[in-house]
Amino acid sequence: MDLVSCGVPPGFPDTASNDGCTEEFYLNMGPQHPSTHGVLRLVVKLDGETVKGVVPHLGYIHRSIEKMSESQTYLQGIHLTDRLDYLSCHMTNLGLCMAVEKGAGFGVPERGEYIRVIMCELQRLQSHLLWWATFGMDLGALTAFLYGFDQREQITDLFEEVCGARLTMNYFRPGGSSCDVPDTFIPRCEAVLEGMKVSLDEYEKLVGGNMIVQERCQGIGVLSKEQAISFGCSGPIARASGLDYDLRRDDPYSIYDRFDFDVPLGTTGDCYDRYTVRIEEMRQSMRIIEQAIKTMPSDGPYRSKLKPVVKIAEGHVYSNIETARGSFGTYIVSDKKTKPYRIKYRSPSFSNISILNDISCGFKIADLVTILATLDPVIPDIDR
């Protein structure tokens, strides 16, 4: 059996450059591979250990969520948004809810807005912790994986207490949220944050302070600011490349304009910058939650009163929010019926994964894993 006789896979140029000494070959990574974090399939062109080209193959978890949403009312469609970016499902819920609120023209009570901000930032924290854990695992530091999940578990428990679900929360509704937070929520949340501040510093020393991690991340997978803009990258990835753009600050939705927080920026756009930006974002999220807890009204309605049937005026609405992975857009076209005429989600992971070929060529196969880990794609978010 010849290892290299399988022809040129789709997506690569037909002419294989051959210098007469070594033979390039194609390696199939995924859809079942430990470091593709789900069912992403990469076909990698290798020259020995060096990556010559990467073609991501999408569609292994396509569930037609946009099409399905057309046959369900707006309220019924919320649970489908959980399944887009399942690690920031509060935020994807919020995207749809905000678009519906905009179109139907009703607001959110004060307490409801605070609940939204706290939950979204806890979600960002949770998502980044999971990223930190899997980043450690991809680099071979399995202990970091367990520590990350240990911290994440506390936030997941909080979510469970609030809305009964741990992964696909389905908590927000147009006009607020499905239920009020329990009385124990705020003290519990404070306790979690208190512990997390200490352990985050400690854990960060374990991974970010490790020389091997720094050696493996610095100068790897450099994404320039221009590339980030032209590929439509957003979120921590674009900010690590120096693109100073955060929707929470630049186009504040909900009540984000009331809080004081920094937008961390990277300088070089390599894997280590993406790492530090995310770690700093976790600290900023904690800052936002602390401020929100202090100023949150202790009583009042958590949800505005809706009509029994939600309808959006004819036309189209668009909402744009900042999830843990970048800017998430919800575009609704309405024909004034109870169900949307068309829904389109703009998912950040799809744009972020498209730079993979451009930034990983020339590096080693181990770097491809590091780059993929720092891009932090969520595959259901890519495929929808």
Partner: protein, 376 residues
Amino acid sequence: MTEPVIEKAVAVAVEVETVPETTWDNANMIGEYVRDHFGADTWLAWGANAGICILALVTLASLTAMILVYAERKVSARMQRRLGPTRTGPCGILQTLADGIKLFFKEGFKPKSADFFTYYLAPFLPMVASFLILTVIPFDKHLQVADPELGIIFVAAISGLAAFGLIIGSWGSNNKYALLSGMRSGAQIISYEVSLLLGMLLIVLVSGETSLQGIIESQSGNIVDWWIIKMPVVGFIAFIFFIIASTAELNRTPFDTVEAESELAGGFHVEYSGICFSMFFLAEYVNMLIAAALGVTLFLGGWHAPIESWNVAGFGWIWFTLKTSAILFAFIWFRWTFPRLRIDQMMDLEWKFLLPASLVNLLIAGVLLSLGWYFT
């Protein structure tokens, strides 16, 4: 230092010919006993000796692998705020046995395109290599299967065999991941072997011995007579280098680029299942024991107690086990703390740092030795 060894070797040779009463002068206690009871040069004695030794080694290897896997799982669990195995037997000590039985009865699956001969040959080579090295490990003064004059050369020669197993296995299974892993393992094991041997060479240089018992004898006395302390800085540096090179030889984190489950999804054993897979792992854990035991033999005084008066004849193996366990714990500690190096960084570490530094270390030791400053 060399003269008594030659005398001893001659004495042993003479002894074998004449069969005197038990003198307990030989390293192999079992062999001595067998010769006493069955006669020296009978087939029965030969067979009994070999049979008992093989049985002892197989038992030791299996037990070691079992205990090490259990220890690794428990220690890593403690480091990660988990409990580890708790259900099978008291505190889960039978977990490894259960896993072993499961692996043993699993279907040994061979991919259609894999090469029959190389695919099935590969799991044996690391096993054979580790069993052969176990024969010369001095667990106690009289607890060693054989003590060849060139023991350390024997260890160096045989340990290269394990690399063949990995390369042949990865080539034979006809898988691209396995192929990449095999190429990595070849590069890695050959490179780090150099540093490992330079560490051994340093000890051979200062002790003037090549037999492992001889090296231990050269460290008899208190803790200050162990080579790690007896050669104040040089010995310590050599010990650290030895541990680093051993970790790389063992393909353990931070040098586990060969296995690299997040990159190569398991690497060389990606196509192996059932008993073949478990043989690779048995060899890996026995190799861990061997590396630790060699570190103890060369640098930490072997079976000597830290204080001379604590030495009790026949119980040196307790000290040996304690010291070996400490190094094994360090190996486990490394694995669950560090991330993995990239293959080119690993090569850089060897060829640009460890090798030159080991050579300089050896040079310094040689100069100091020729000046007669210490270690005599």
